[in-house]
Amino acid sequence: MSTTKMNSLQAVNSALHQALGEDEKVIVLGEDVGDREGGGVTGATKGLSDKYGDLRVRSTPISEQAIIGAGIGAAMAGYKPVAEIMLMNFTTVAMDMIFNHAAKLRFMSGGQTSVPLTIRTLTGAGWQTAGQHADHLEGWFAHAAGMKVVCPSNPADYKGLLLSCIQDPDPCLFIESAGSLFVPMDVPDDQGPIPLGKANVAIQGKDVTIVTWSAQTVRAKAAIAELDKLGISAELVDLRTVSPWDRDTVLASAEKTGRVLVAHEAVRDFGPGAEISATIQEELFGKLKKPVRRLGAPKCPVPFAKVLEDAFIVQPDAMVAAVVDLMS
């Protein structure tokens, strides 16, 4: 099987080339996405407008409501738009379009219209971009009926999950997480769609289950390497899709190990980890060896100073400590 070494942004670019090439209904819009503007601030859309034309791949003004609105309208008319909102905090500017319209129009029209829109957006702490450029807001969108929220952690998943989002009949938010962008891996050249709503048991283990997604999966892998040295066998469940999330896989792993840590980069309080923990404890009460542990960011804006930003992020050593505590 031939493979190509790539990082996650190159995987996104590869998925978009493939999707535009295979399906003329796929279209792309967003700030700076055209090649005249450099093919996206991260290069994720490089080469698309040159190859597929300015009508299908359109740079937009800095107008997030207009971007998502145009995506919704085109989606309702039968297209499969991939709208880029440069950074996740800027989705807040378009929240009416996303939450009140994209997510709800299928239901509110009684199924007469649908919005097969993919919204790609980048976020994550670690680049010292501070409080308005780095929030992990997947919990906001996971709370919305009608949205799928997809959180890949490695290049193959970026490609496979993005291909699935584009072909999905409903609106998908595809979150590109800073801490997971530049860990290269060999991606199969024929990498196809990876189903939404299915978790990946990335590492098998027997003592404890770690449930996570996005860049936190990268940190979890580092934590698991340390735990291995301590003789603790941890199972890593990479959720891949936060909404709808794969209850079956999570519950099966939790039942097997009896100990669960849910860790995410988003703020801990009211975060997705609370939903997942509560479900595990509702379903497996009596079978768990310890209460489910949650780790997430403190409830403060993402800070600038490096020492603060490092402390804000749930680092591998915090995950190791939590697991050691679960094992005691």
Binding site: A74, Y79, L105, G110
Partner: protein, 331 residues
């Protein structure tokens, strides 16, 4: 008001069709108000009584495949676009035979078959989506046009400004049709808007903008026809500010106390429907008999639709799990 000498003018057939659409809007509105008052219908209602000329004229100029995005005060736009009245009534009554199976209600009626793509309850939100439908028209290589209806209040929300800018930059086939009825909820136009005419804002977005007498079918026709032709020809969007008045305040039950004394009565004295009817008769475009018969036919259609709608069964609670996604959610 700004009609050019060579502006398109409606022929007698067009005038009668516009009148018919107005009458259908008004008779339907009257039936909704009456049915609410009788307690047979429970719904928030934003009547557009007094504003009939705008949608009637615009829709006369549209084709079936042309699309509209409208707002919570939008039933006139749907009726004018030939949405069938039976599923309309079933929807506002919350019945399973409604356009949206009773899941959208009066603020969210949708009927793609007649081009009613979105009805939004959020001020301004018809416009960004209309742009996307118009982009799809360009991608299709079609000359389909899209109308975004909204009120004067919506010209002060960000979505208006983002949408007009994008539509102009992308030369989208959109008509931005603003019904300026003098009030944004309870706030008067001059208390909430920085310019004396919303059409002036079009200058800032590089598109033609006209302030039109929205109660005058001739003026409406001249400007809307020009805008539709421009959109079909690929020349881009137009902003039409249509001056009018709403006779029943913001929402059913509104006491209109925020209006100046005499303002509402003065507006009612300019009720476009009887004035237009008289002019059709005076100019010989229609006879009394013809218009009476038209009225009878419309009233029969509305009455039948009303009874159909009120008799429609409520949707099954299973519907809570349907249409959230393409696949039904597990129980």
């Amino acid at each position: 008001m700004n009609t050019a000498n060579n502006a398109p003018q409606p022929d007698p057939e067009a005038l009668v069709d516009i009148y018919r659409r107005m009458l259908r809007i008004e008779r339907n509105d009257d039936a909704i108000l009456t049915t609410i008052r009788k307690g047979r219908l429970r719904m928030p209602y934003y009547s557009a009584r007094g504003q009939e000329v705008i949608a009637a004229t615009v829709s006369h100029l549209l084709r079936k495949e042309d699309q509209i995005c409208t707002i919570y005060r939008g039933i006139q736009d749907m009726v004018a676009k030939d949405m069938p009245l039976k599923p309309l009534w079933a929807e506002i009554a919350g019945g399973v035979d409604g356009t949206c199976k009773g899941k959208g209600g009066p603020m969210h009626l949708t009927h793609p078959e007649t081009g009613v793509m979105v009805t939004t309850g959020v001020v301004g939100s018809s416009m960004p989506i209309a742009n996307g439908l118009a982009w799809a028209s360009l991608l299709d290589g079609s000359d389909r046009v899209v109308v975004a209806y909204f009120g004067d209040g919506a010209s002060n929300i960000g979505a208006f400004h983002e949408s007009l800018n994008l539509a102009s930059v992308w030369k989208l086939p959109v008509l931005f049709v603003c019904s300026n009825n003098g009030y944004a909820e309870h706030t008067s136009f001059s208390n909430g808007t920085s310019v004396d005419q919303i059409s002036k804002r079009a200058i800032g977005y590089g598109m033609p903008g006209y302030t039109v007498d929205g109660n005058d079918p001739w003026d409406m026709y001249a400007h809307a026809a020009t805008a539709v032709e421009r959109a079909r020809a690929g020349e881009g969007p137009t902003l039409l500010e249509c001056m009018t008045f709403r006779f029943h305040g913001h929402v059913f039950g509104d006491d209109s106390k925020y209006m100046a004394p005499g303002e509402l009565d003065a507006a009612k004295a300019r009720d476009p429907l009887p004035i237009f009817r008289q002019r059709l008769l005076d100019e010989g475009h229609a006879s009394e008999d013809q218009l009476d018969q038209m009225r009878e036919e419309i009233e029969a259609e509305v009455a039948e639709a009303r009874e159909f709608g009120l008799a429609s069964a409520p949707p099954s609670v299973e519907e809570l799990r349907r249409d959230v996604f393409a696949g039904e959610m597990a129980a």
